[in-house]
């Protein structure tokens, strides 16, 4: 199992959970599997061509996957993945 940390703005999709488990051998597979259990999450992480969105950072054991193999970065049992919006804070709307 892979541990995946979910940022606040995506928690409405994970029933409020800040951490979920996934079974996957790569980041691509992890995103597909997450989307099966938490529908809609893939659209938030990837654009319409399937590429990771620029302002979504994904870290495997603290290393930015851009410096590994991107979406093809492989995962193994016990890895920890963090999904972090590049611009921290999320939205703050004053009405």
């Amino acid at each position: 199992m892979i541990k995946v940390r979910i940022p606040t703005p995506l928690r409405p999709l994970t029933k409020g959970q800040g951490e979920v488990q996934a079974q996957a051998k790569s980041i691509t597979e992890m995103i597909d599997n997450l989307n099966a259990s938490h529908p809609g999450i893939k659209d938030r992480l990837c654009d319409e061509t399937g590429e990771l969105r620029r302002f979504v950072n994904i870290y495997v054991n603290e290393e930015d996957i851009r410096f590994l193999k991107g979406k093809d970065t492989s995962l193994k049992e016990g890895d920890e993945v963090s999904i972090v919006p590049a611009i921290a804070g999320g939205s703050l709307c004053r009405t």
Partner: protein, 416 residues
């Protein structure tokens, strides 16, 4: 005024109302102000600008505020200095220094962005203004808040220069010194911004705040007699200033103030914190965040929010990027002071150091009309040069003592 149409996500294009928000809910991209340029074009002209106030507000048509009341009424319109001596030293025919060391009221380019941010924050109904800062921004927020009668919270890293700390306290805002570097401060402030309904100028007000930097482009073009420079050299911390100067130049063309933009944009960082320049030199369009270690503390942002767009703007303009060591920063500060009589802070040393490098490499050519942006004042970062400037000549209060120290002839000449 009121030429703002919406906020728009720079990545996915989703539009939002012009409120205090800065991140796209859908794709996490940064939001940017979208204008109605057709409308602006009808009302703007060189004459109208020249007849306007002697401040950034002469360009109010291109700024994200409704007006007609502007806070920070004296920011901007700093001198564009024809740097003949430095130009001759470097081998440049036409070099200019855009001298924001004398910006009003706190001696850095941040007075531009804060004037815009606090004006917009007031329009949105905020009573408390705040920021995460490497120093200059905090100074400017504190001063503007005092003048506007607003409450202020400024968050700074724990290792700032003494003058930048004092330059907050004097205005009596709440000064919060965070045990950590700027990136730690910024992360904390993002959390605080989520909890409190404050106007964080560089977080939830960032789309408006960042637009203030465009005035550096407008002023340069106007002061050059309505022409764009061939080359500009811009210091980079978050990368925002560079992207906004590029945007500002193009907006002037869009609204018909100039007919062409032929400027190459060059970015400057210190070696101890050069995530953007390093990415550029490696041919990457993404950067690796770093832990900053440089005397150029005002540029010490290891995880630059606009790094990607800075890389993109530089590439589009066919410009370049480079970095210099801390020793070169000190030499750059001294060179500018000793050739042009302008005392810049460490970021200015970075800019001059990189300018020098780009000229040596042949990236900037002798005949290129070149503008170097000097964004902050040396009196705020005295620690950086205190051991590199020598000591005064100490003498007795007598003519003999003076004459013994200085072998000066009766009719001038000579030196100690």
């Amino acid at each position: 005024m009121a030429t703002m149409k919406a906020l728009v996500c720079r990545e996915c294009g989703k539009e939002y109302p012009t409120k205090a928000i800065h991140v796209c809910e859908l794709c996490f991209g940064p939001l940017e102000v979208k204008y109605n340029y057709e409308e602006i074009k009808k009302g703007i002209s060189r004459k109208k600008i020249q007849d306007g106030p002697d401040s950034i507000w002469r360009y109010a048509d291109l700024l994200p505020v409704q007006g007609p009341t502007f806070l920070g009424p004296h920011a901007g319109m700093t001198p564009l200095v024809r740097a003949k001596n430095l130009g001759a030293h470097l081998g440049l025919d036409e070099l200019y220094i855009k001298n924001d060391t004398v910006n009003h009221p706190t001696l850095s380019f941040k007075d531009r962005v804060v004037a815009v941010a606090i004006t917009r924050a007031r329009e949105l109904g905020f009573e408390t203004i705040a920021c995460a800062s490497t120093g200059n921004l905090a100074n400017s927020v504190a001063a503007h808040a005092a003048a506007a009668g607003m409450r202020a919270y400024v968050f700074i890293p724990g290792d700032l220069e003494a003058a930048k700390v004092l330059g907050n306290l004097i205005y009596r805002p709440n000064v919060v010194e965070v045990e950590g570097n700027y990136d730690d401060v910024n992360r904390l402030c993002s959390e605080i911004a989520g909890e409190h309904g404050w106007a964080f100028v560089n977080i939830n007000i960032r789309p408006y705040y960042a637009e203030g930097s465009k005035t550096l482009a407008y002023e340069t073009v106007e002061q050059l007699g309505w022409r764009t420079p061939d080359q500009v050299v811009i210091p980079m911390a978050s990368g925002s200033l560079l992207t906004k100067i590029w945007k500002g130049l193009h907006e002037m063309k869009t609204v018909g103030l100039i007919s062409e933009v032929r400027t190459k944009i060059n970015g400057a960082q210190a070696e101890g914190c050069s995530p953007i320049s390093t990415a550029f030199k490696s041919g990457r369009d993404f950067f690796k965040p770093v832990k900053p270690k440089t005397i150029a503390k005002s540029l010490a942002i290891g995880n630059p929010a606009d790094g990607y767009y800075a890389l993109k703007a530089t590439a589009e303009s066919k410009g370049s990027m480079d970095m210099v060591s801390d020793d070169e920063v000190v030499e750059g500060i001294k060179l500018l002071a000793q050739t042009e009589g302008i005392f810049a802070e460490t970021a200015g040393g970075v800019t001059i150091g990189v300018l020098q490098k780009l000229v040596k490499q042949g990236t900037i050519k002798k005949s290129d009309v070149t503008v170097a942006y000097i964004t902050g004042n040396g009196l705020k970062t005295q620690e950086a040069v205190i051991d590199a400037v020598g000591r005064p000549h100490r003498i007795q209060p007598s003519l003999v003592s003076f004459e013994q120290t200085f072998k000066v002839g009766k009719h001038g000449g000579g030196d100690a």
